[in-house]
Amino acid sequence: MKPIYMDHHATTPLDPEVLSAMMPYLKTAFGNPSSTTHDFGREARQAVETARQQLADWLGAADSDEIIFTSGATESDNLALKGIAYRSPDEKNHIITLAIEHKAILDTAKYLQKQGYEISYVKIDSHGIIDLDDLRRQIKKNTALISVQAANSEIGTMQPIAEIGAIAHEHGIPFHSDAVQALGKLDINVQRDKIDMLSISGHKFYGPKGIGALYVRKDLRLAPLIHGGGHERGMRSGTLNVPAIVGLAKAAEICERDREKENARLLQLRQKLRQGIESQIEHVQLNGHPEKRLPNNLNFSFAYVEGESLMLACRDVALSSGSACTSTSLQSSYVLRAIGVPDFLAHCSIRFGLGKSNTAEQIDIVLDLLRKHVPRLREMSPLYDLAKAGVDIEQLSWKDHDHDIHE
């Protein structure tokens, strides 16, 4: 069987049109955009500035200068949080975010906390949606930043970004959003939605890896993380990665061009998959919101079947799981735990991330595999027996045998 890629939240393949657009800058147009004294440099600069303008237009930015190129969304998230934290006056040392943010936000927040910053996590409901009243309650005089993702990479839950932006602005607090999963799918406009900083990653929408951007509203100043030649208005030094920047803009252009059509197609495929799972397989639970989720995302728990063993059974399909067994930390997904999915169901979770290459035939293949393997693995599962005998699995707990692992 030909492998099926259904892990588009992790990354996406490079669009051939994007590669073609990049090629001249990989082959002949090698100039350094900072070298404005000769044509080699000017050609490169021209390409970068055109790309910058395209991205600014795409995001609804007022000025192309507001796009700061970075190595990817992890850097963008770091720059947004640390950039604000390190330049806010001392009394502004409070950051508000969510417990289901990407690790690039959470780990940065934890790092800042160790340095004395105060971090608050706004309440979310069992679908992962922010509690706006709680957001209002968390705002303090010393709040320096609110950072809330546009959509979640595991459960696809979309946040009411414009409402959050409005609340932030009522209080004069900058609002940052990690829009990595949402871009190319949702309609985002930084001015309309009152977003002051927005993180972008190229490889999540069929662009190249290693390139991203942070939109930074003009009047916002960030402390740089990388010092050097003073590129990108001093906020991010380093010679610009011209071919990747050209690719990023091309990928954005294609995404916007195809967005509505592709979204409709993805929704149809997802509906087929969801309906197939819910109608053909017993004891499944949808994790995340039934409607307010990315059009390409599904996250299901197949109760009593451990996620890694199910992925192994379906190994010609690239999927991902929130099971503890798939993580090196042996912890189940922090996102699923944060929305209150019991550990044993997090253990049984599979994420389906649809994308351009997926077809209705592939959905049928995946459904066939699930229909075959879920019951088979269930027959092998002691938890299924216990559940059938009426035992409450959530209440089971295991003593640590205090046991050496002999290697």
């Binding site: 451990e306 027996d385 089971l396 295991w398 045998h401 692992i405 002999h406």
Partner: protein, 129 residues
């Protein structure tokens, strides 16, 4: 998961065709253990006659390595005396599978614990020491 590349042929073979899945009908020993590390669960039932494990079956909720080690441990103990069976450690099971990826060694502990628990249970039930 790149860890699958590190599963030996033997691990994959046992995962694909696990031996002795189920519950021994007239079992006189049962061990149900959970893995405190990752939350996986294994149940092993045994039938002991004259100190010999004449039948053994497993049920496992866990990763591929957990299923393979469960299957392997049932093969290893069938026909063995209790004393011989108790000598089996997670390491010997892993070795019999041609080794396990490092991050998967803890899964084999489940098999050892379940075996131990089943034999303890048998001894308790029958008053054997």
């Amino acid at each position: 998961m790149d860890v699958w590349q590190d599963y030996t042929k033997k691990v994959m073979e046992h995962y694909e065709n696990p031996r002795n899945v189920g519950v021994v009908e007239n079992a006189n020993g049962e061990g149900v253990v959970g893995n405190p590390a990752c939350g996986d669960v294994m149940k092993l039932t045994i039938r002991v006659e004259n100190d010999i494990i004449v039948d053994v079956k497993f049920k496992t909720f866990g990763c591929g390595a957990a299923i393979a080690t469960s299957s392997m441990v049932t093969e290893m103990v069938k026909g063995k005396s209790l004393e011989e069976a108790l000598k089996i450690s997670n390491k010997t099971v892993a070795e019999a599978l041609g080794g396990l990826p490092r991050v998967k060694m803890h899964c084999s502990v489940l098999a050892e614990d379940a075996l131990q628990a089943a034999i303890d249970d048998y001894k308790k039930k029958t008053g054997a020491k």
